[in-house]
Each structure stands twice: as structure tokens, then as C-alpha cells.
Subunit: 344 residues, 2 copies
DNA sequence: CGAAAGGAAAGAATCGTTTTGGTTCTTTCC
DNA sequence: GGAAAGAACCAAAACGATTCTTTCCTTTCG
């Protein structure tokens, strides 16, 4: 049915191996023969079978993407489409394809990755998150699979190529910004505690408090999911305190949106009653009400560099381990204001 | 290096074919042998090579996703992450993987699809859009590749399984809603003219005008890209008219956001000066200022059904052609108001 | 008791490439 | 004129499964 390399060979009166070399444009074949073979290919409408090539080659030109949860859930946060945009851009130039992991529970995702990797479906993997004691990362390392992580590995960061922001500094700057505005009761709303990005941003927040001589209050630290609902939950908790914060560092725009929602429901105004600075600077931070002051972490770049470096690693096994830090910038909008003592 | 079926066979003292059958859990193998083989697999840490299996099998358990433009661009519109969420959900249950097309120009995308398909990398394809005279669709049909389109095929819709909304009706209802509010100068802002979804929504809009006896004005029809910038452009055009519209039917939320931006820049209020109803009901329609009245087209469902039906088609070649219509609902928020004659 | 029947596993071909190791034929040079 | 070198191509063995066909044992029954 399908036309194979053999059919082409027959038609061009050469051996299959010759056809293969013509495809690879090997210098060992004369121009005359190449031309003849190429004509035969055109005439028969030949297209190489990638699967067969992959088998012989042990390379698939496919990169696997691993999300922290089911794609179904993760894609609710604009971070992921955006990071994939960057990856896609980088990958396109090098003619690689992308494959998404599906899998709902952590165990399923793990199995999915094992299948991808052992099944030799992908040449390398990008982890779109980094968390403490991640089985998947351990597995990839043990199996010596080319991979890059977006975020900072929990341990042995110097042994793993990764692309990250300087989240500690970014969070410190964000917090300092609020301090400069006169705030003293500043809360931190982070994502899952096991995510390194949460830890780093929390550390930056702590540093800023410390060097400003402000008290670090445990009840001002809340962790929820990186979703709108997470922000809502977090804000409810904080508002139930005897002395609620006057400013918030929120680790994610979508969460901040939830925070905003809850605040509005409670009749509190931003930035009048509460100031907010969040992270990611995705589209919604621009259109929320009020527009959010947010740390732009250059998500697109994170993805782009991750993919670029993974491909280098795949194509050159001796590529050194790298750590790539993408710069961030605080984008000031309208969710922060000077602290005003209660007017009463 | 890697442990293959042969190693397992040797270890278990059976033939490779027997091991293969054990993997497939064939009834032709006795329980005793199965157990023995399974133990050998465990001991050696065997994992089947998917590529080899695919070659022998002519099936990859992978579904290709084709976007209308580069992933890099398309992912700017929340429609795509959302539709992939649905696809991902459906695909996960059936143990399929997803592969994204990358490719910037139309020609590149076409080549990408040909590679996917001829290279036998995917068992089927989902087209995430539908446009007139689409080469890719023609190709898939000619090659008899299992595929499903999201949207309505331009021609021969009865020969192609597709998942769509009743866009004509949805647009008619949206327009009628504006008419009921007393508007008479209603403009239509659509996406690319070649997209069937644009055509259908335009038809619905026309129908509504006609049955209400309102004039159909060519200068009230604008087509731009399904991006924020598209909406901005469109609005600028409309505002330059001698008699600008008092209400808009916008075919996409992200575009509507651009429209909103431009309107705000011009000092016009929504819904005070202009009423807007848009499509998709993605998150941003909820958080925009004002929140948009938008037609919820159930994007998640569109994706889910598309994937589910594609898999049925792949697994049963005799599956009949289907057309699946996903219901829509108009979600009323705060971007529409009664028409008020200029106060002056 | 011996042949037929039937179950379990082995053997070998196949899937469509790549790649290693030849072979053949022409050219070069003493 | 003949050996050596080199160009151009061919044949066959991977790659790691699946699957069709065959073979080998047991049973069963007249």
C-alpha cells in the first residue's frame, strides 16, 4: 500500500541503501544518482516513515512536556499556554515535535513519563515545574534521559540543567516595594508548599521583612493551589484574622484574581484597603480590576530557553550542565498604594 | 543496553513470540508461562519499546493536533488551552498521547501535517479550526486519515465528522438580544473571513437584522484576527465612520477585550455609549471591565467530544460519520444596556 | 495400542529504515 | 601492463516488536 524505500529503489534501479543515503543527502552518492532517485521519489509520492527511522536511529525528534497535574487542570492557569508558546517557538526552528503528558494523579503522570521515556517515544523531556522530592526528576536523572527543568531543582541543582528566575530576589523586591509604600502588615500567599517556586518566593519575602526589621508572622503565610479558587480561599483565611494584613504578596496572577474577587465580595477596595503585588504578569493582570502590579517573569523566555537548551543537550551529549536565569521586572499598575492608617 | 523482548525470552526460557503474547495477555498462553515471563520482565526491568511496536502494529496511540497558526501565536487566545483541556481529558481515559503541530506559515503547517501523517507518527488528527478551501483538510480526506474537525467543514460537511456549535443560531440570538434592547445600529466584528465560524456568525447576525427589518450595512462588518489587537483595529475602523454603531456583536472574547480597550481610550463607556456581546465566555470575559455578556460555546466540550469521537473512529474504521452540535448559552453580564438616544 | 485431535510454545517472516562491510568498476601511476 | 587506490553502489544485518505458520507434546477414543 504505502510506498517504501524499496519501491523507490526498484523504480530508480538502485539499492534501498542508496535511497536512504539520498534522503540523508550523503556525499557518498553521485549527483546523477541522487537526481534519479529523487525523481523516483516524486513520481511515487514517497514519504519516509518516521517510525521506522526512529527505530533504526534511536531518535524520534519529539520532546515530551510534563505538567505538574493533568493538562486538563494545569491549562486553567495561563502560565502553561504561555510557557508552551516559548517552547513551541524554539522547537519549531529545530524541527522537533511536542508531546504532552496526560495523567491526572501524580502516579499516573509518573507512569506516563516512564512510558514516554522507556517506550522511546521522546528524545528528551521538559519538566514544567519543580518540586521537592520529585520522583519524576529522580527517575529522569537515574535513567540519564536528557531533560531540562523550568524552575530550580530542589537538590543537586548544579547537576541539572534548569531555567529559572531569581525568585528570591524577585519576591524580595516585590515585598520591599510594599514596605516602601509604608506597609507593615504584609501577608504572603503562595502555591503548593512543595513547589520550589513557592519556597523561593517565600524566602525572598522573609528576607525583605527581616532587613526592614518587620515581624514575621506565621499566620500571614498561606498556601493554596495556583488557581483562582486558591486565591479566594487564601483571602478568606487572612480576613478572618484579628489583625488582617494591609498588603499581600501573591505568588501568581490567577490566585491574585481570586484574592481580588473575595476582597470585592467583602466590600474591601484595592488598593484602598489592601495593596497587592503578584507574579507572572499574564494578560489577566492587565485587565483585572484594578490592574495588578505584577512581577513579569518572562514566561515565554523560560519556555524558549528550556527548549533550546534541551535540544542542544539531545544533539550533543557532552553539553555541559547549565543554569539559566531569566530576568524579571516589576510592572507597576494600580493594585498598590501607600499605607494609610485607618481614618477613624 | 536496553533490555528487549529477547532478553526476557532468554531469561524465561521461552521464545520472543511468547513474551509478546504475554504482554498482550493472549489466551493462547498458559497461566504458568505467563507468570514465569512476567517475573523475568520484573527482574530485568523490561519496558516495551513503543516505536518498535508501532512499526509492527501500524498504530502509535498518538493524536495530532493542528492549529490554525503557529502554536506560538494561537496560544495567545484562551480558546486553545481550553479546547486542549477537553481533548486532553478525553484522550487520557483511552491512553492516547497528544502531539502538537508546530509551524508558522500555512505552508509549514501543511508540511508538518503531512510529516505527521505520512511519517505514521499519529493515528489520527484533530483540526482545531475550519476554514474554506483548506488544503490540510483536503489532504486528510484524500489520504483517508482518521480526523475530526472542530467547527463546520466548508463543503461536504456530511462526509466529515465534526464537532461544532450552532453558530448561526447563537449569533442570531446574540444579535436579537441587542435588538430587543432597542439597538438599531449594530456592527459585527468577526475573525478571518475564511474561517467558517466567522461566516456562520455573520449569517446569524444578518438573519437577525433581516427579520427585525433593520438595514444591513456593509461598513458595519469588520474582519480582523482573533486577537486583542484585532479588536482594537476593528473598533478604530468603526469609530471612524460618520455614524458609528451603538452595539457590537464580537465573534471572540479576546477581540472584545481589544474593542473595550480602544473604546476606553476614546473615552467612550460600555455599556453607556456602546453595548457589546461577544463569544466564547472564557475567563477574561468575566474579569474584563465591564464584564462581558458572552455566548458560552462550551469549548471544553467541543474538545472532549472531538477527541472521543476521533478515537472511536480510529479504533473502529466503520464508525459512521457524525456531526455533533454542542449547545450554547448566552451569559448576560454588564456590557449591554438599552439603547438611549443621544441625550443632546 | 496407535492415530487423531487439540493445546502450548517455537520459528520465521515482517514492519520500513539505517548502517556496516563489502564488491565492482574505473582511474592512476610506475 | 598490472597493482593499488578510490569512487559508486549493493547486500545483509540490525532496530525491537508482532503475527502467521509450524512443530511438539499430551490427551482422547475407537
Amino acid at each position: 500500500m504505502t510506498v517504501t524505500i524499496k519501491d523507490v529503489a526498484k523504480r530508480a534501479n538502485v539499492a534501498p541503501s542508496t535511497v536512504s543515503r539520498v534522503i540523508a543527502d550523503s556525499p557518498r552518492i553521485s549527483e546523477k544518482t541522487k537526481k534519479k532517485v529523487r525523481e523516483a521519489m516524486k513520481e511515487l509520492g514517497y514519504h519516509p516513515n518516521f517510525i521506522a527511522r526512529s527505530l533504526a536511529n534511536k531518535s524520534t525528534q519529539v520532546i515530551g512536556l510534563v505538567m505538574p497535574s493533568s493538562a486538563d487542570k494545569a491549562f486553567q492557569n495561563p502560565f502553561f499556554p504561555e510557557v508552551i508558546r516559548g517552547i513551541s517557538k524554539a522547537v519549531h526552528d529545530r524541527q522537533y515535535a511536542l508531546q504532552l503528558s496526560t495523567g491526572e494523579t501524580e502516579a499516573e503522570i509518573y507512569d506516563g513519563v516512564v512510558h514516554m521515556v522507556q517506550g522511546k517515544r521522546v528524545d528528551g523531556v521538559i519538566l514544567l515545574y519543580s518540586r521537592a522530592n520529585d520522583k519524576i526528576m529522580a527517575y529522569l536523572q537515574k535513567e540519564d534521559v536528557p531533560f531540562v527543568v523550568i524552575g530550580k531543582p530542589h537538590k543537586k541543582a548544579e547537576e541539572i540543567t534548569h531555567v529559572d528566575n531569581d525568585n528570591v530576589r524577585a519576591a524580595r523586591e516585590a515585598t520591599e516595594y510594599l514596605i516602601e509604600l509604608g506597609h507593615e502588615r504584609i501577608a504572603f500567599v503562595g502555591g503548593n508548599v512543595n513547589l520550589i517556586v513557592t519556597m523561593d518566593r517565600l524566602r525572598g519575602y522573609e528576607k525583605a521583612l527581616k532587613s526592614a526589621g518587620l515581624a514575621y508572622r506565621k499566620d500571614y503565610i498561606v498556601h493554596e493551589e495556583f488557581l483562582k479558587e486558591g486565591g479566594q480561599e487564601a483571602m478568606k483565611e487572612l480576613l478572618s484574622l484579628a489583625e488582617p494584613p494591609t498588603a499581600l504578596v501573591v505568588a501568581d496572577d490567577l490566585m491574585a484574581l481570586g484574592v481580588l474577587n473575595t476582597l470585592a465580595e467583602m466590600g474591601l477596595s484595592v488598593p484602598g484597603d489592601v495593596s497587592i503585588v503578584s507574579f507572572n504578569n499574564v494578560l489577566l493582570s492587565e485587565i483585572s480590576r484594578p490592574p495588578l502590579t505584577s512581577v513579569d517573569i518572562n514566561i515565554f523566555q523560560l519556555g524558549f530557553e528550556a527548549a533550546r537548551n534541551l535540544i542542544q543537550q539531545i544533539e550533543n551529549p557532552n553539553e555541559p550542565i547549565k543554569r539559566i536565569i531569566i530576568p524579571h521586572t516589576l510592572v507597576k499598575r494600580f493594585s498598590c498604594d501607600y499605607y494609610k492608617a485607618p481614618s477613624q
